[in-house]
């Protein structure tokens, strides 16, 4: 009796996976071979480098430095981010320029960063933000993973 129960349940299981197989295969075929866009896509995954998921507005992504209108960084080197950082990944150096304290070096070691966002929250000058929307920083060396936020170029 038990054996029969098992048998019917296995058939049921086969029907479930078989249904997935046939339905998904159908949608894959019309979506990707005949290029007909349907609402149902037959898969729950995204094809990452080509299609990207929408990042929520408050999602914490790569850090960026805010600059004043004159082009100087807003950071005054108060070291609160250095103090609050739980993973100890921020290095700031500040110097006196025309009587004001301005950061001359602001380095974040991204592969040590935990993306907790404390540095953004603690910053009294709103100098650092984590809203650049960039998530893919892949590199083959540790060197490239230390971001110099004061560098205004592409990096």
């Amino acid at each position: 009796m038990k054996g029969f129960l098992y048998f019917f349940e296995t058939i049921k299981g086969l029907l479930v996976t078989g249904k997935h197989l046939i339905v998904n295969f159908f949608f894959h075929t019309i979506n990707y071979i005949f290029r007909i866009k349907t609402k149902r896509r037959g898969s729950v995954t995204t094809q990452y480098p080509e299609e990207k998921r929408e990042i929520p507005p408050r999602y914490r992504t790569k850090h960026r430095m805010m600059f004043n209108e004159e082009g100087t960084p807003r950071c005054v080197g108060c070291m609160l981010c250095v103090t609050v950082c739980p993973s100890d990944c921020i290095f700031v150096k500040a110097e006196e320029i025309e009587g004001k304290k301005i950061a001359t070096e602001f380095i974040i070691h991204v592969n040590r960063c935990a993306f907790c966002g404390y540095c953004v929250e603690v910053c009294p000058e709103d100098a650092i933000r984590m809203d650049s929307g960039k998530l893919d920083f892949v590199s083959d060396s540790q060197k490239n993973l230390s971001l110099n936020l004061l560098f205004k170029g592409k990096k």
Binding site: V76, G77, C78, M79, T83, E95, G99, K101, E125
Partner: protein, 471 residues
């Protein structure tokens, strides 16, 4: 002793104190800006207001003397409300630029706002714009926006220095601190003005934008630069070197000892102490070559017995002097034992002493002769410290083919004449007892660990002692 009541609790305190001092003595903190332990009470900042039984209004605790049966409330509703209102007035013109202020972390305003503030800004008028970085002296910078006019600095120049170099100009909202015609302050004690400032109005130029104060750790020691032996704090980065050049002596702050230096130190001790960290030597050198300790012991054994002159340094601690005398004077019977040190300098009647070494008094007490009384020629010499430049007469007394052993933490100026040089810890890396000019003994502990493995003078003397006794 009289009995007073603070916060409905009875305490007995000394006569002649103010309420603020009495409360501090029994462990109750009353916030204050202008009151300073070694300055006369002024009652300017109104932050120390307390409720006193019988008084119609709140009274400033820093000016109210204690008397029998006084009843004080320091945390009542009216007092806390008054503190908030006083803080609002203090903040009325304060720029709140803590991110770039060097006082942040040790600022009274920050501390009290954290405790009693947290209000919304009640003022709609704009804050006064004033001079942000004015040079008050060669090592002080005045920020007039941050000033809360507690007048500690003015009172310091008036009461402690007695030369009245600072004044308050203008009145009311426009009043500001300045010297006469904006000239620079000239004083040997100007560093104290930055230290006693409770806010970031007067800051130290040498500390400006260097490191945040909460990364620093205080370590207690005494100042070795003159025979007064002022108590000081040495501040050093807590766990990480945040500075590029791995400086470990970031700044010197005055310690608090009412019997020696109150809470002030001279500028020499504050700014020149870092120089004893320079020109260090960590290698034992014999005839211009590095040697290890096995070899050194052989050399010592060979030459110790032929010594005819010992020159002790007045930078040795009491214990080291005792041990050296017992080895050389009592065991080896060497007659020619002298002491030397840095040459004498200027003197004033506040803190600075003529003798620029920490421990000369003890050497005189032990009947060691001064180097000036040297009369016979030296052939084999063991010398502690390198003070040849301060005592030029010694060089002339050294004969040809003499063997000179030197025990010094620094690299000598003319190393060619030294046959054996042993590295030792400097003043901040060793502890000991020190006797100041008036015979007062003080104990210090090591402030730093040596960067490399080197011995103290005491350990070297112990080695010499054990070598001699084995023989």
């Amino acid at each position: 002793m009289i009995k007073i009541k603070i916060n409905d609790k009875e305490y007995s305190v000394k006569e002649g104190l103010t309420v603020l001092q009495a409360a501090e003595e029994v462990g109750i903190e009353i916030p204050h800006f202008c009151a300073h332990e070694y300055l006369k009470p002024a009652g300017l900042c109104r932050m120390c207001l307390v409720e006193i039984k019988g008084a119609r209004k709140l009274q400033t605790s820093c000016t109210t003397p204690v008397k029998e049966g006084l009843e004080v409330w320091t945390e009542s509703e009216a007092v806390v409300k008054a503190r908030e209102e006083v803080l609002k007035l203090h903040f009325a013109n304060h720029p709140i630029d803590c991110p770039e202020c060097d006082q942040a972390g040790e600022c009274s305003l920050q501390e009290y706002y954290d405790k009693y503030g947290f209000y919304d800004n009640p003022y709609i008028i704009k804050k006064e714009k004033r001079e942000k970085d004015m040079e008050l002296s060669d090592n002080l910078i005045l920020d007039r926006e941050r000033c809360i006019l507690c007048l500690r600095c003015v009172r310091f120049t008036e009461e402690i220095l007695g030369d009245k170099q600072l004044f308050v100009y203008e009145r009311g909202n426009k009043s500001y601190i300045s010297t006469y015609k904006g000239e620079k302050i000239i004083s040997d004690y100007s560093g104290n003005i930055a230290e006693i400032c409770p806010v970031g109005a007067i800051t130290d130029k040498s500390f400006r934008f260097k490191i945040r104060s909460w990364f620093l750790e205080k370590r207690e020691t005494i100042c070795p630069l003159c025979s007064r032996g002022c108590n000081i704090y040495i501040e050093t980065p807590k766990d990480k070197p945040y500075l590029d050049n791995y400086e470990r002596l970031i700044r010197v702050k005055s310690g608090d000892n009412g019997e020696i230096n109150k809470s002030f130190i001279c500028d020499t001790g504050r700014y020149k102490l870092a120089e004893i960290e320079k020109r260090r030597n960590y290698k034992a050198i014999y005839e211009m070559q590095n040697v290890n300790w096995v070899r050194i012991k052989k050399i010592l054994l060979e030459h110790i017995v032929t010594l005819d002159t010992i020159i002790l340094s007045s930078w040795l601690s009491n214990e080291e002097i005792d041990l050296a005398l017992s080895v050389f004077r009592d065991y080896l019977n060497i007659k020619n034992i002298f002491y030397w040190g840095r040459k004498d300098g200027e003197e004033d009647n506040i803190l600075i002493r003529k003798d620029k070494n920490p421990n000369t008094t003890y050497l005189i007490e032990k009947k060691v002769k001064n180097i000036d009384s040297i009369d016979s020629r030296i052939s084999n010499l063991l010398v502690f410290g390198d003070f040849f430049e301060d005592n030029p007469s010694v060089k002339e007394m050294i004969g040809e083919n003499s063997f000179i052993m030197m025990i010094s933490p620094y690299l000598p100026r003319d190393i060619g004449k030294i046959n054996l040089l042993l590295p030792v810890t400097n003043f901040l890396e060793k502890g000991g007892n020190w006797t100041n000019y008036e015979g007062r003994g003080q104990t210090t502990k090591p402030v730093f660990n040596p960067k490399e493995e080197i011995k103290t003078e005491f350990e070297i003397l112990q080695i010499i002692d054990s070598l001699l006794r084995k023989e």
